[in-house]
């Protein structure tokens, strides 16, 4: 039989049972829609978290110390072990262009004159070049040892009158102590500047580690008030403040230079000369990664999540295909007589097989197309609702259609085979 004729006959019989065909297709529609919707949401989520920002901090290597068994993203399980001396020594290494600490400071609020805004995080202490020149929309980098800050647009816009370069802000840190900063620069975007911060947009104030972190760490050190029995790492003047993370800039963005910087830094930190080395051991190891590598980790986690969800959706697809198989079996029984007629007038087994298979595949394809449309709409609504940038994974649309065909073939195979081997003599007697 010609394929065109087979297609027409199959379509005729699908149209002949509209409700039944619709219900059969529904299983596939829901399965495919679920896969597409979740994959769309997953891709959008990924775009939302990681963003399409290409890391322009390619020569930076981000380091922290954590239990090697700790899983997770940047700074997971990190302990403050890097001393000011360590940072300075690392910076003097031949392979290293610059090195500076990184530490978030717990704050309570920020005031611009009389206006006070509660802000618990987003106060970040680091080195001047943490804010790269090209990221500055206005002003300049802060200088080490000065009471200066660079803020991002989100932080500036928090106040009724936008904060501009030259304004003075008062920051209240945990414990109620107040300190002032002069705003010397404003960045061009409110997204995070490094993987340590995350990439989402939020108000952030960047300050030099000295004096802010050094003062805070010193101010709260138990050694300060405790007197003689205080731990040696907590000197009264804060000189021994330990940083939770270290950022090392390599000579260039080339892989060789990055690896060289990374290796020599790790070698130094693990040597006896480094203050950090006394803490390092089996339970605490330093990790140095570029932002590309760090993003990869995040990506892996998201992929895992997405695979999990797609797996669940695949189960509903399986249920859908069992539905098609079931309906096709009923349909074969119901049309036994028609099969008998066709065989009596010369239909070969493969003609009958082809007819029923075509029917199942048509149902599968219709299900896939409707499911894809529904899934894209659901993904769109979902992304809109959670406020994510919409990313359509088009390759999955093609995949969905292929799966629809596959589901049709797999679920139609047995019923079609049953139909094909029907004995025409019995079938013609069938009432």
């Amino acid at each position: 039989m010609r394929p065109g004729a087979s297609l027409r006959l199959a379509w005729r019989s699908i149209r002949g049972h509209k409700l039944r065909s619709a219900l059969t297709t529904l299983g596939v529609v829901i399965g495919i829609a679920a896969v597409i919707a979740f994959v769309t949401l997953g891709a959008s989520l990924q775009a939302g978290i990681i963003g399409d920002i290409s890391p322009d901090d390619q020569r930076n290597v981000y380091g922290w110390a954590a239990d090697p068994d700790t899983e997770g993203g940047p700074l997971a399980g990190a302990q403050p072990i890097f001393s000011q001396d360590d940072l300075e020594s690392v910076e003097e290494l031949e392979e290293v262009e610059a090195a500076y600490g990184y530490a978030p400071i717990q704050s309570q609020s920020v005031s611009d004159g009389d206006e006070q805004i509660a802000q618990g995080d987003g106060l970040i202490a680091s080195g001047p070049s943490y804010i790269r020149e090209e990221r500055l929309a206005d002003g300049r980098q802060f200088e080490m040892g000065e009471r200066e800050a660079v803020i991002n647009p989100a932080a500036a816009e928090q106040f009724e009158e936008n904060v501009t370069v030259g304004d003075e802000l008062t920051i209240t840190v945990i414990g109620g102590e107040q300190t002032t900063v002069e705003v010397v620069g404003i960045t061009d975007s409110s997204e995070g500047l490094s993987p340590f911060e995350g990439f989402e947009s939020s108000p952030r104030i960047y300050v030099p580690t000295d004096p802010y972190y050094v003062e805070q760490a010193g101010g709260f050190g138990i050694g300060d008030g405790g007197g003689e029995d205080g731990a040696e790492t907590n000197g009264g003047d804060g000189a021994d403040a330990r940083f939770i993370a270290i950022i090392v800039e390599a000579e260039s963005t080339s892989e060789a230079d990055i690896d060289a910087a990374r290796e020599s830094t790790v070698a130094y930190l693990e040597s006896d000369a480094a203050d950090a080395s006394e803490f390092l051991g089996d339970d605490l190891e330093v990790t140095f990664q570029t932002s590309t590598e760090l993003l990869q980790q995040l990506q892996d986690i998201l992929d895992l999540l997405q695979n999990f969800i797609v797996g669940i959706a695949a189960i509903s697809l399986l249920v859908g295909s069992i539905g098609i198989a079931n309906i096709m079996l009923v349909s074969v029984t119901e049309r036994t007589r028609e099969i008998g007629i066709m065989k009596a007038v010369g239909a070969q087994n493969r003609d009958v097989l082809g007819l029923f298979l075509t029917e199942a595949v048509i149902l599968g394809i219709i299900g896939a197309i409707l499911g894809t449309a529904l899934g894209l709409v659901a993904g769109y609504l979902g992304a809109w609702y959670i406020d994510l940038p919409l990313v359509y994974p088009y390759e999955y649309v093609a995949l969905a259609i292929a799966v629809g065909i596959l589901v049709g073939i797999l679920s139609g195979l047995y019923p079609a085979w049953r139909a094909a081997r029907t004995d025409p003599i019995d079938a013609l007697r069938y009432e």
Binding site: G4, I341, A344, V345, G346, Q348, L428
Partner: protein, 242 residues
């Protein structure tokens, strides 16, 4: 093989069903159906009529003996070849019409050509011509449920003829028709026979059988006698067929 004058030939055919005890549905039947003839097969229930029809209709193969259709031995053919032979050389007309419910009259008539790979235009042309010959040219777009019993049977007859078969096999063709429609359909059978079609009608009604040239009487799986309707009755000793 050169075409002979025999459309269907059975020689010493047995068909045995094994349902516990072996049952001989046909027990040594030999029969020749010449081309262009009109044969009726009669017999009570259980006489082997249906089995004979299935064998002649190429739906089944004999347990013993040979069935030749259009000079081809049905028993020696593969399933595919047998189906092809049936599709091209046998046209069926059933008591219950057996039309495809979702297809129009025209599509029903064209159906057997579909399985022989004919193209759409060719199929429709041929089907339309046959519908015209059975007087249903104006009903080609009607579904079976929109047609009367007589019309349905005429569509079925057109379908049986569409591939120009060696034999048209009718199983109680007027069983579901009233007297008047029955006459119409049987007249049509006569017309096609006149035009050269080989007809075999299985029936248990005498007046239907009498339209044929001869009547084959079956009893207990054997040919009891063959009655030539030009007046001569050819009595057969069933023992002679063993």
């Amino acid at each position: 093989m050169a075409t002979t004058d025999t459309a269907v030939s059975l020689s010493n055919v047995r068909k045995t069903y094994r349902v516990g005890e072996p049952v001989h549905a046909l027990d040594g039947v030999s029969l020749e159906i010449p081309r262009g003839s009109y044969t009726a097969i009669m017999g009570p229930s259980g006489s082997g009529k249906s089995t004979l029809m299935n064998l002649v209709g190429c739906l089944d193969t004999p347990s013993e003996g040979d069935v030749f259709i259009d000079d081809r031995n049905v028993g020696s053919l593969s399933g595919r070849e047998r189906t092809r032979l049936r599709g091209t050389q046998v046209g069926f007309v059933f008591q219950t019409f057996n039309l495809m419910p979702r297809l129009t009259a025209l599509e029903n008539v064209a159906l057997p050509q579909l399985f022989q790979g004919a193209d759409r235009v060719e199929r429709r042309e041929r089907a339309r011509a046959l519908l015209e010959r059975v007087g249903l040219a104006d009903r080609e777009d009607h579904r079976p449920n929109e047609l009367s019993g007589g019309q349905r049977q005429r569509v079925a007859l057109a379908r049986a003829l569409v591939n120009d078969p060696a034999i048209v096999l009718a199983d109680e063709p007027s069983g579901n028709l009233d007297t008047e429609t029955e006459a119409e359909v049987l007249d049509l059978f006569g017309e096609f026979h006149e035009a050269g079609t080989t007809m075999v009608v299985v029936t248990h009604e005498r007046h239907v059988a009498e339209r044929a040239e001869r009547i084959v009487h079956l009893l207990d799986g054997k040919i009891e006698r063959i009655e030539e309707l030009d007046g001569v009755t050819d009595e057969l000793d069933s023992g002679a067929n063993r």
